[in-house]
């Protein structure tokens, strides 16, 4: 359940930005979570509820932009969607590819008041 640590990191970032902007509280937190980031959105939402208690972000709504994974095949050079981290290239069936999208773990924006 490393999502608890991840949630704590989010709280730190959010608190930092909220204070810099003289926020009274945080209403919403928008995150980018990649499909192969190693973070499970459901676990993160649960961890968030626990971690946000008694912080400026308590009761803030979490919005997760789930970002699909994409890879470029090193053999046929084509780009394809990665359904799983261990997929194969859908064009030439190669297993050699580089992931170009889907590892994101980012706080995009917050809504404060």
């Amino acid at each position: 359940m490393h999502e608890l640590s991840v949630a704590q990191n989010i709280i730190e970032i959010v608190t930092d930005f909220a204070k810099k902007n003289h926020a009274k509280r945080v209403m919403e937190v928008v995150l980018d979570i990649g499909a192969v980031s190693g973070v499970i959105p459901d676990n993160l939402e649960f961890a968030w509820e626990v971690s946000a208690k008694n912080t400026i972000a308590e009761n803030a709504l979490i919005k997760i932009n789930y970002i699909e994974a994409k890879a470029v095949c090193l053999d046929c050079k084509k780009e394809f969607n990665l359904d799983d981290i261990y997929s194969i290239c859908e064009y030439c069936l190669s297993t050699r590819y580089d992931i170009i999208q889907g590892k994101e773990l980012k706080v995009k924006s917050i809504i404060i008041e």
């Binding site: 359940m1 608890l4 640590s5 400026i56």
Partner: protein, 310 residues
């Protein structure tokens, strides 16, 4: 993580000890402590037991707004550093809410610290390994044998990570290599900050090999860069050969995969080629070494890998 309040791994919880040192695990859940102090961002960058201070009472729930809205059109730049009395009226109605762009990597803090560790290791020519696996794959035995075999050739330093006990550190200590044990208590992984502290305590020498044995867990440690030169994932043939696709992140982020306990292959269903194929799908850069720490078979390849990469 702290199991009681769900906070992250705070500095107080983690213990870093050399063999023979006393335990001083302090873990206070002081929910009711007063929040008179000012929160300085820099100071509370890690520890979260001091739950945020709300010094104004006007949450929607406990603040009755029976006053006329017309009075509240004024703009007020209220500064939240002071306690403001609410005998005057201000209606929020969420009208002040606005979006702030953040665009920050969630793992940024750990990653920055990891880069600091990496810079330190490079400057001192320390070759550092992050050894990851499920519990029971034989990481500590591998280390014991490696140190005994190569200690005339390389200077080893070891950081042991476990939730509890000094057992692994004591085993390494018996080989003569300097070691510190990090106990993460409820935590499921090591992070860059713990390594930073442990390295200072261990006083790692220049041109040495630092081996960090992570907490036995194939999930969480994958996300935390420690600043290591290479990441080594160990699996044993008593596990399933589909481990690489069940826990892909760990295999994706590793440089070398050691398949241990090969002496047991005649008795188990583990298919080495299949395991390698799965792992290669996840990470085509991954190297493999098959060995048995118990019989010594294949250990020479591992030693060779160490000499080559060091």
């Amino acid at each position: 993580m702290c199991g009681t309040c769900g906070c992250g791994q705070s500095d107080d919880q983690i213990t870093i000890r050399k063999p023979g040192e006393e335990v001083h695990h302090e873990h206070n859940h002081d929910y009711n402590h007063e929040h008179e102090h000012e929160h300085d961002d820099d100071k509370h960058s890690h520890h979260h037991h001091h739950h945020y201070k709300h010094d104004h009472d006007h949450t929607e729930m406990n603040h009755s707004h029976d006053h006329d809205k017309e009075h509240h059109d004024h703009k007020h730049n209220h500064d939240h550093d002071h306690h403001h009395e609410h005998d005057h009226s201000h209606e929020h109605d969420h009208s002040h809410s606005h979006e702030v762009k953040v665009e920050q990597d969630i793992m940024q803090k750990n990653d920055k610290l990891a880069e600091r560790n990496r810079g330190y290791f490079e400057a001192k020519e320390i070759f550092s390994l992050n050894l990851v696996s499920s519990p029971g794959s034989g990481k500590t035995s591998l280390l014991e044998h490696t140190i005994k075999e190569l200690k005339e050739e390389m200077k080893f330093f070891v950081i042991e990570g476990d939730q509890q006990t000094m057992n692994d550190a004591n085993r390494i200590n018996a080989t003569g290599a300097p070691v510190v044990q990090i106990n993460t208590w409820n935590g499921c992984h090591l992070d860059a900050e713990m390594i930073n502290k442990a390295v200072k305590k261990l006083e790692v020498a220049e041109k040495s090999v630092l081996i960090i044995e992570n907490v036995g867990n194939l999930v969480c440690p994958s996300l935390f860069d420690l600043g290591e030169s290479k990441r080594v994932v160990v699996i044993s043939v008593t596990e399933g050969d589909d481990k690489p696709i069940k826990y892909p992140n760990m295999f994706m982020s590793s440089n070398l995969c050691i398949i241990n306990k090969t002496d047991l292959l005649p008795y188990v269903d583990f298919n080495v080629e299949k395991a390698k194929e799965y792992a290669t799908r996840v990470n085509h850069h991954l190297e493999f070494i098959e060995l048995s720490v118990k019989t010594g078979e294949g250990m020479d390849k591992w030693y060779e890998w160490l000499r080559k990469n060091k």
